[in-house]
């Protein structure tokens, strides 16, 4: 396999600095900070209390925000990675240079992933600083795990977006596919599973159903952050049907990582043809 790191780094560097210069990174980081602070203070308003409660509740509230926002941001960030170059007419030029298609794809992905990770870390990291006084060591660990899994969630949907950008014939179609992907994974998937569960009275596919959750990176992310929090577990519908034997952080992280690697590998395979 003919592979060099330098062209990957050049492409990744360009993508990353493009997002820094366009203030995209700053805007996303601020968005995360503002939403997270609001949630930390008003997240318990339904229960009649305003103000910071426990790190468990804060994370649980943040999860329900992140699970909508990050997939959407990642899909919008990556959907035109390749198809945009193709439509602009610069793809042929790039491919005429000493760079392979796999290197170009990987460079695009890593640069965009770095921008997304940087925004996530900066945005939620700032919140962690604000909440620092209320955090003990365990809380800090849970929050760190929340940030790490948020980044991986973004990387997973970014990998899907890059795959769409390879498969789609034009930008319009790619953006349509991106929105449809978000709709399916974030809204439809759980509803379908719930539907099967309700209609079948729990008998149809009962044992396999929890494992189907691994097929949705958004669900993996939710379970990863919620399964350990005893007092909020009951409030999280499908998450609670997840069997305890699967509720290992290692397995869930591996599933998220697989969601980054597999779409990217498929994208590379399609792009090389």
């Amino acid at each position: 396999m003919n592979f060099e790191l330098a062209p990957v780094a050049t492409v990744a560097g360009k993508e990353f600095w493009d997002r820094i210069r366009s203030l995209w990174v700053l805007a996303i980081a601020l968005l995360f900070t503002v939403f997270a602070l609001a949630i930390a203070y008003f997240g318990g308003a339904q229960q009649g209390a305003v103000g910071f409660r426990s790190i468990g509740f804060t994370i649980a509230s943040l999860v329900s925000l992140v699970i909508y926002l990050i997939p959407l941001i990642a899909l919008l960030l990556g959907f035109d990675a390749i198809v945009g170059e193709r439509e602009r007419g610069s793809l042929d030029l790039l491919l005429s240079l000493p760079i392979t298609r796999v290197e170009l794809l990987l460079g695009k992905y890593l640069g965009l992933a770095a921008a997304l990770a940087f925004s996530t870390l900066a945005g939620f990291g700032l919140v962690a600083l604000v909440l620092a006084r209320q955090l003990d060591l365990g809380g800090l660990g849970a929050y760190a795990s929340f940030m790490l899994s948020s980044i991986l969630l973004g990387c997973a949907f970014l990998a899907i977006a890059v795959l769409l950008s390879v498969v789609a014939s034009d930008r319009t179609r790619a953006s349509g596919l991106a929105v449809a992907t978000w709709f399916v994974f974030v809204l439809l998937f759980d509803l379908l599973l719930l539907g099967v569960l309700v209609v079948g009275g729990g008998r149809i596919g009962g044992a396999a159903l929890p494992y189907l959750l691994l097929l949705n990176p958004a669900d993996v992310f939710r379970i990863l952050n919620v399964h350990a929090i005893e007092d909020v577990g009951s409030a999280y519908g499908l998450a609670t049907v997840f069997p305890p034997e699967l509720a290992h952080d290692g397995l869930l992280y591996a599933a998220l990582l697989a969601w980054c690697v597999v779409p990217l590998a498929v994208a590379a395979w399609r792009f090389r043809r």
Partner: protein
């Protein structure tokens, strides 16, 4: 095939196209093309849209893999494992290139220099060479079409390439830009670079190229220098004769011994299409007609005649 691989070009070929075909389903975009482009040659590729020249161009660059056959640059397969070394020696200017609007001219060039592993110190000099020295720090969204085309050429020149592929390179350039562009090409040629270009501005290309290939329906229909192609095709020479009033019949009689196509306009102008071999005979007959002739204009067959004559030989 078509005499495209003459012995002299075979010896020092910079680009060799060997029995290359590219099929898209049932469509044969390129169908069995053989070409040898000599080192140091300025080679033109012409053809209508859909004639297959873009596909052939992309196969020469290794962007499209041939269904059959192979392309060699300096004797190395462009799609092979040594593709990186091959591509560092190649400069490519795509048709209608659009760069990144958010970057400046200098930043654009630096990005491509890094990808090409060319020294970044070249960038400033190249921008000056293509006449963009003053616009180096400006964002590309402020660039005109001509400026973008100049930047495209600067990009193609990164890494001092031995071989240049230029697809419709003068599109969007004003006359001054075209002149500057060919001045740069001549400098490169003097340094020994091989240049392959396509153009639909045939009048422009025929003055400049050493040889050219005419493509139609995926095949190369003719290869050679413009004079050689003219001679080979035996295209008629067109002679326009301005005749003194009332002398037309006499001039016609003087030319009657020669097998010519004659036409007249306005009673004083004679249009003659003469086989090349009879050119001098026609001229001497006209000279004998003496004062009956006011003016004579001789036009050699242009590339347009060759080009547009292809479909209906």
């Amino acid at each position: 095939m078509n005499g495209s691989s003459s012995g002299s070009t075979e010896a020092a070929a910079a680009v060799r196209v060997l029995g290359v075909s590219r099929h898209y389903g049932a469509v044969r975009a390129v169908d069995g093309v053989d070409l040898a482009i000599a080192r140091g040659e300025l080679f033109g590729l012409i053809g209508h849209n859909g004639a297959g020249k873009s596909t052939l161009f992309k196969m020469m660059l290794g962007l499209v893999r041939p269904t059959r056959g192979s392309v060699q640059v300096d004797g190395i397969d462009v799609g092979g494992s040594a593709f990186r070394a091959v591509r560092r020696r190649i400069g490519y200017l795509p048709e209608n290139v659009v760069f990144y609007d958010n970057l400046s001219g200098y930043e654009t060039l630096r990005f491509f220099a890094r990808l090409k592993a060319a020294p970044e110190t070249e960038c400033v000099g190249l921008l000056r060479r293509v006449g963009l020295g003053g616009a180096a720090r400006r964002r590309l969204r402020e660039y005109s079409k001509g400026m973008r085309q100049r930047l495209g050429l600067a990009q193609a020149l990164l890494g001092d390439p031995q071989l240049l592929f230029l697809d419709e390179p003068t599109t969007g350039l004003d006359p001054e830009g075209v002149r500057d562009f060919y001045a740069i090409l001549n400098e490169l040629k003097a340094d020994g670079a091989t240049i392959v270009l396509t153009s639909h501005v045939l009048a422009e290309i025929q003055q400049r190229v050493d040889r050219l290939a005419i493509m139609a329906a995926g095949r190369v229909r003719a290869v050679g220098s413009v004079p050689a192609l003219r001679a080979e095709r035996d295209l008629p020479v067109r002679i326009t004769v301005e005749v003194a009033p009332g002398m037309l019949a006499g001039v016609r009689t003087a030319l009657a011994v020669l097998p010519l196509e004659l036409g007249e306009t306005g009673g004083t102008t004679l249009e003659i299409a003469a086989p090349r071999a009879l050119k001098l005979d026609v001229l001497s007959s006209l000279a004998r007609a003496g004062s009956a002739i006011r003016d004579v204009e001789v036009r050699e067959a242009s590339l347009e005649d060759l080009f547009f004559g292809e479909g209906n030989p």
